[in-house]
């Protein structure tokens, strides 16, 4: 896969960089570490943001602003004449193919356009492929990584490992396999309740069928009911009675019209009393079928319990208007319209507790009330007693007037959005009244039946009763068939939907386990790298960090495998800030080395601000020697943005341009130009000479001090001259004196030992001319802060002495063909055989 180095970046009209007509032009080298130094407010952050915008299309910091602050209005430089921002980059493929030049513009309306001036076919897609969590790293990112919850850290880390899409997909499956959601969306609980109710109904119908069978055939039916056989036997029995047979014109029992049979018998017997008896028998059966079921009280209690839970949940909330308010606040945070959790978005007052947490808690109360409403509605829908109430009111036998019927209004109340306990009590009272009326009515009908049976001839009574038993048997067979089919349909539907629920749960579980295995494997693969890096940066072998991946979730814990002899402790709790940051940086850098991104570069913005000089130095050395290309042949091109002056001193120590390419931003942003000044080895000397020649002694003196210090330290490093334990690298006025003292001491030691490699002329010049000159003209004045004003000519002489001191530690070398000055290996030997 082709990867891309960042070769050049040009910026105009973006954020703090105006540069109208003359873009800030930063060239980066691919064969060494790049650094860009800028003092505060000189465009460093704007440079980082311009690159982020070119690649990602946004500046995260701006997108987190409240919408009321108009974040889109802060992309363009406020002083640029056209209001158009332009960021041009040149990417160099690492396979040696042609460079890709891409220009990204943002017009005053905020519209982004991307073109490739080198003719690359799909520049937007290429930029998108560079958009990984590892190309642009800043201090804030590391802080978040340390301070995140284990779950958020795990998800961030998935991104570092290139596993973000897997993490996202895992969350999708977790949402889809949530059992509570499945129960609601697929109506699993409702279906199960309906099925139970239908099975109970089928059981009751079967009992009615058995009673009608006994009445009609005067015998017990078998344990299993063969509806076809029963129907056939029944129609045969009816056909055996001539007056009845004459009224039957069909062959199937369920198609028999009992109204026709009744009319035929009525015509033959001409008796109104017989008609009345038939009606009474039908009504008695109907009323007996409407007797209460055994589960009714339990159903009522469940509904009451849910109602009380909902009312209690509602009492915890603050009403509909606050619900709207909380929803809006949550939306503000979700959409990053407002980002500060400790500031109210309405009145902007400071808060003690994070507002998103409070809002989530409040909204949960509304959700609890809402889910309990659903339970109430399901209870009302699936309970048998509301259906019995309706059947009682609708029953012809009960004779309830339309105006006295309550079921419709009760259903609207208890099955609707505002069910109440009063409504439930009213419904139960209504059912009780109907039940009492049913029992009274049944008793009256039974008494009337007894009276009629005495008045009518026994044969007619028997025939009438047989016909009504047959009619009941027919109704029961029809109902049982329907009920059995409904149970079968509900079972099939419930089984299929449950199969989906089980399926998606298994899918989610399998994906999560595979993701954990992959993530753990990749995390473990980084372990050696980040541990070695951490040790190198902190120089502390007593602390061994450990990234611990949860076996069952996405959580990632920052632990310490070893901490001064102790084991498995929390890193975030025990490590000081600089060590925590060092750990985050090392983990990110380890991830960068494993990255399969198309970005062959990493930009580090202000990542050492919490480090002291020693740790900064260690980190830079680590980057230069182990991380960055070309020292690491598979490593990325590293670009460091910094405003830390201590770091710039480190950059000064790089003796050749092949190791480090340093640029310094200068200028007067945000109105004026910003331009880079490339730092070469003579930067300090050149700058000091310019100031001295302009008569600016006061401005030249700090530069001379830096130059002298740099050169003397360079000699000490190159010749490996031992220093005292308390030799400080701190930037204080005694450093020059310390260096001179160290060098003089070492020279004296080796001269006395007789093994000094310097020739006699060099020793003489050093001891009698240059060193005394430096002490006399510099150390005794500036370095001791006596405040004596020195003339520019004296200081120019100091610069010469500095260079001559350095040359005294070099010898002519012919290894490269022509004679070149080369540092001795140490004070007793040359670096080669010349």
């Amino acid at each position: 896969m082709v990867k891309y180095f960042l070769k050049r970046l040009q910026i105009e009209g973006f954020r703090g960089i105006n540069n109208q007509g003359e873009p800030l032009d930063l060239a980066f080298k691919t064969d060494c570490v790049n650094s860009v130094f800028a003092a505060n407010a000189l465009g460093k952050s704007s440079t980082f943001e311009a690159l982020a915008y070119a690649i990602n299309g946004i500046v995260p910091k701006l997108e987190r602003l409240p919408a009321s602050d108009n974040p889109g209005g802060y992309y363009a430089n406020r002083f640029h004449g056209t209001g158009t921002s332009t960021v041009s980059i040149i990417l160099q493929p690492d396979d040696g193919s042609d460079d890709v030049a891409i220009t990204v513009t943002r017009d005053p309306s905020g519209k982004r356009s991307v073109v490739s001036t080198s003719g690359f076919p799909n520049p937007e897609k290429l930029l998108h492929s560079l958009n990984t969590e590892l190309a642009l790293l800043d201090h804030e990112l590391f802080l978040e990584f340390i301070n995140d919850t284990p779950l958020d850290r795990g998800r961030t880390f998935s991104g570092l490992l290139g596993l973000s899409p897997l993490s996202e997909f895992r969350q999708v499956l977790e949402v889809l396999s949530n059992r509570r959601n499945l129960n609601t969306d697929l109506e699993l609980v409702t279906l199960a309740s309906l099925k139970t109710r239908e099975e109970e109904d089928a059981h009751n119908i079967e009992n009615n069928l058995r009673a009608a069978f006994r009445g009609f055939f005067s015998k017990e039916p078998g344990p299993s009911l063969d509806l076809e056989a029963i129907g056939k036997a029944a129609i045969d029995a009816l056909n055996a009675v001539p007056v009845v047979a004459a009224a039957i014109s069909v062959t199937s029992f369920v198609d028999v019209s009992f109204e026709t049979i009744r009319n035929a018998v009525k015509k033959a017997e001409a008796s109104n009393e017989r008609d009345r008896l038939a009606l009474i028998l039908r009504h008695i059966t109907a009323l007996e079928n409407l007797a209460p079921g055994s589960s009714e009280d339990d159903e009522k209690n469940k509904l009451r319990g849910s109602l009380e839970k909902r009312l209690a949940a509602l009492a915890e909330t603050r009403g509909a208007l606050f619900h709207e308010l909380y929803s809006v606040i949550q939306k503000l945070y979700d959409q990053d319209t407002w980002s500060d959790p400790l500031q109210c978005p309405a009145c902007e007052s400071k808060l003690h507790e994070p507002l998103p947490d409070q809002v989530t808690q409040r909204l949960q109360q509304y959700k609890d009330a809402e889910s309990e409403l659903k339970v109430i509605q399901d209870h009302w829908r699936t309970s048998r007693w509301p259906a019995r109430l309706k059947s009682l009111e609708d029953s012809e036998a009960m004779g309830v007037a339309q105006t006295d019927r309550s079921h419709a209004s009760l259903a609207a109340l208890l099955g609707g959005l505002q069910p109440t306990l009063d409504g439930l009590d009213g419904a139960i009272a209504c059912l009780d009244r109907l039940e009492a009326a049913r029992q009274t009515k049944r008793r009256e009908l039974l008494a009337e039946k007894e009276k009629l049976e005495k008045e009518l001839p026994p044969s007619l009574v028997a025939l009438t009763e047989q016909i009504e038993h047959a009619s009941n048997l027919q109704q029961a067979i029809k109902k049982l068939r329907i009920s059995i089919q409904r149970v079968a349909d509900l079972t099939a539907s419930l089984d299929l939907r449950s199969a989906w629920a089980t399926f998606i749960e298994n899918v989610s579980d399998e994906f999560a386990k595979a993701e954990v295995r992959l993530s753990t494997s990749k995390t473990t693969a980084l372990e050696t790298d980040y541990r070695e890096m951490y040790k190198e940066v902190t120089k502390n072998p007593e602390i061994v960090p450990l990234l611990k991946k949860s076996d069952t979730s996405e959580e990632l814990h920052l632990r310490l495998a070893r901490f001064y002899g102790l084991s498995d402790l929390s890193a975030a709790t025990l490590l000081p800030e600089s060590y925590r940051n060092a750990l985050a940086i090392c983990i990110y850098l380890a991830a960068v080395l494993q990255s399969s991104s198309t970005a062959r570069f990493v930009v580090l913005d202000d990542v050492t601000s919490s480090f002291d000089a020693g740790h900064q130095w260690s980190l830079m050395e680590l980057i230069r020697t182990k991380i960055a290309y070309p020292a690491n042949p598979n490593g990325p091109q590293v670009i460091i943005l910094s405003h830390d002056s201590l770091l710039e001193k480190y950059f000064d120590t790089m003796e050749t341009k092949t190791q480090w390419h340093h640029q310094r931003l200068q200028g007067l942003p945000p109105k004026g130009l910003v331009y880079p000044h490339t730092q070469d080895v003579n930067r300090l000397e050149d700058a000091a000479r310019q100031q001295l020649l302009a008569g600016q002694t006061d401005l030249a003196m700090p530069l001379i001090r830096q130059y002298l210090e740099q050169k003397l330290l360079h000699v000490i490093r190159k010749l490996e001259i031992p220093v005292r334990l308390d030799f400080s690298i701190r930037d204080d006025r005694k450093m020059v004196g310390n260096c001179l003292e160290t060098i003089s001491g070492a020279l004296d030691l080796h001269r006395r030992a007789g093994d000094l490699i310097l020739d006699s002329g060099q020793i003489h010049d050093l001891e009698t001319v240059y060193m005394p000159s430096l002490v006399a003209n510099w150390v005794s004045h500036y370095a001791t802060a006596t405040g004596v004003s020195l003339s520019p000519y004296v200081l120019l002489g100091v610069l010469d002495s500095i260079n001559k001191v350095t040359s005294c530690f070099m010898y002519p070398c012919k290894c490269e063909g022509s004679l070149q000055p080369r540092f001795y290996k140490n004070l007793t030997a040359k670096a080669c055989g010349c």
Binding site: L166, V507, S521
Partner: protein
């Protein structure tokens, strides 16, 4: 879902997701294809305020598909 599925470290995340969906379809040809077909409602994962609606929409589609399958089955077998 039968057999342990493992992601391939050499593949991209998208390729691995694709491989996983194929594995699911192969392990459960009856239900697996429905997951892929309606995933566009949930991927990319909507933000928190829209997630419930997206999930309900996804499950609504699944419910429709399952109910239709039952109707077809009933029509075929009576």
């Amino acid at each position: 879902v039968a057999g342990q599925f493992d992601f391939d470290e050499k593949k991209t995340a998208q390729e691995n997701i694709e491989a996983f969906l194929s594995h699911i379809e192969s392990a459960n040809p009856a239900l697996g294809p429905f997951l892929r077909k309606h995933l566009d409602k949930m991927v990319p994962l909507p933000d928190a305020t829209k997630r419930s609606a997206a999930r309900a929409s996804f499950n609504g589609e699944i419910k429709k598909v399952l109910d239709a399958a039952l109707v077809a089955l009933k029509a075929k077998h009576g």
